[in-house]
């Protein structure tokens, strides 16, 4: 899974640090996102997708193969659909 963050878009809302604290933190200056782990284990990928979904400013992009086809899919911030993020729906 590849994770990209855009600190220019980031507003420091902290949804990322709340949702996937092992992977994201916020700096103390403007509260902007910090990537703690550039190569997180697959077990974290759901939490990371959720963080990207929850980010209100679309500052987190994740790329990973789709489970079904193996095709890489780029998921950026609020373009992620809930169905791709939550196991429930």
């Amino acid at each position: 899974m590849e994770i990209r963050i855009d600190r220019e878009r980031c507003l420091g809302a902290g949804m990322c640090a709340l949702t996937a604290p092992e992977v994201f933190d916020q700096d103390t200056e403007g509260g902007r996102v910090l990537l703690l782990d550039t190569d997180p284990p697959p077990a974290r990928s759901l939490a990371i997708r959720r963080a990207a979904y929850a980010c209100p400013s679309g500052a987190i992009t994740v790329t990973e193969p789709r489970p079904a086809s193996g095709e890489p899919a780029e998921l950026r911030g609020h373009h992620i659909r809930a169905s791709e993020t939550f196991d429930c729906q």
Partner: protein, 410 residues
């Protein structure tokens, strides 16, 4: 796939338009107006007739509301908006006052938000947990001495967040009583409009005083921190007022109405009492289920296609956050309060650049206050029949004006 957005003739659009449903169902203080669910099912983005005659839009679906809130082609500037609420037809809506981030767009909004965001990070807010616990415990002690029948709003739900704002702004001990009294006067149901305006003006003076204190003798708080930024005194006073307005009635009503909801769903209260580890989830679920800021408004800065329909430049879009948070396409069995569910992804704090700045503080406050209250008073119950609890149906922020509770032997 490319396709043309559907555009109806003005006559057709006018014919289809609905007015914003605001009447909550009889007998249930927690449910949104029933018509919102019907609209959401029929068409999650529909034409809305505003009281001033404007023909705009109403979004009720979760993904639609989320998309609009995240899209900066929709403005949050008050002066561009038509309001969907009855009684606002002749209202001249002035632009946001200095420091009021809610009514600003980029880049003004971004400038303030960047200066503030670092003071409200998850980490910094969690560091306040011990203070919240202490303040919570003190108020529960006082309640116990005062009881066994108290108004929970006055004794607990209002003072806890108010004192946390004192902490953030660094209001010194000796001035807190004065501050709390002024803050209470603004939102008290018995205050007249004149009294509210006077209280607001008084608070302005209070903040200007406080800021000059902080410039001279900085302490360890957000306001002192901000005095070293480029912000002017006027901006700082505006921001202090904004933080108070944004952080007080909201959290106070989440605690007040949240307690009412838990008391009305005793099995949920019991689950929380049995396992305080459920607190995080319970807080998210209460935020979703209650959605105390039910409605937001945006204005299109250009033509924007949403859900295959064309919203034209200048048109107002009302986003029904309460309808979105009850969308069955997003949440299973959405009208049931279930603290075991994972309600993350709710829109109670909004979405997009205006998503609540203080949300991490609000979470800490609720996460501490609610379980502590229910653990301290295992027999907590309403002291009046539920239909006698006065509801804030007439306010931007929904909740309870008072919540008489009691405990001990029946």
């Amino acid at each position: 796939m490319q396709h043309e957005p559907s555009t109806n003739s003005p006559e057709q659009a006018a014919q289809e338009a609905v007015v914003l449903p605001i009447q909550r169902p009889e007998g249930c203080p927690f449910d949104p107006p029933a018509e919102l669910a019907e609209l959401r099912e029929r068409q999650p983005l529909t034409r809305l007739r505003y009281p001033d005659g404007h023909l705009g839009w109403l979004a009720t679906g979760h993904s639609t509301v989320r998309a609009i809130a995240a899209d900066t082609r929709f403005s949050s500037r008050y002066e561009l908006m038509h309001y969907p609420f009855p009684g606002t037809e002749d209202l001249e809506i002035p632009p946001a006052t200095v420091g009021d981030l809610t009514g600003m767009d980029q880049p003004e909004h971004t400038r303030y938000r960047r200066l503030l965001a670092g003071k409200f990070t998850v980490r910094r807010m969690r560091a306040l947990t011990a203070r919240v616990e202490q303040i919570t415990a003190e108020h529960l002690d006082a309640m116990e001495r005062q009881g066994p029948t108290v108004d929970l709003v006055r004794a607990f739900a209002h003072p806890v967040p108010a004192l946390m704002i004192c902490e953030l702004l660094g209001v010194p001990e000796v001035r807190r009583a004065d501050f709390m009294e002024r803050a209470a006067a603004i939102s008290a149901p018995e205050s007249t409009l004149d009294e509210q305006i006077a209280a607001l003006a008084g608070l302005g003076d209070f903040f200007r005083d406080l800021i000059s204190d902080k410039r001279a003798h900085p302490t360890d708080d957000v306001l002192s921190d901000l005095t070293t930024s480029e912000l002017t005194d006027e901006e700082l006073a505006g921001i202090a007022g904004f933080l108070l307005a944004a952080g007080l009635d909201t959290t106070a009503n989440m605690i007040g109405l949240g307690t009412f909801a838990l008391l009305s769903h005793p099995e949920q209260a019991a689950a929380l009492r049995a396992d305080p580890g459920l607190a995080d989830q319970a807080v998210e679920e209460l935020l979703r289920y209650l959605t105390i800021t039910p409605t937001g408004v945006r204005a299109a800065l250009e033509d924007v296609e949403v859900d295959g329909q064309l919203i034209r430049i200048g048109e107002s879009v009302t986003i029904s956050i309460q309808a979105a948070n009850r969308d069955p396409a997003r949440f299973d069995d959405p009208d049931t309060l279930d603290i075991h569910r994972k309600a993350t992804g709710h829109l109670a704090f909004g979405h997009g650049i205006h998503q609540c700045l203080g949300q991490q503080l609000a979470r800490v406050e609720m996460r501490v206050a609610l379980p502590a209250l229910f653990t301290r008073f295992p027999t907590l119950r309403l002291a009046v029949p539920p239909e006698e609890v006065p509801l804030r149906t007439d306010m931007n922020i929904y909740g309870v004006h008072r919540l008489p509770v009691t405990w001990g032997e029946e």
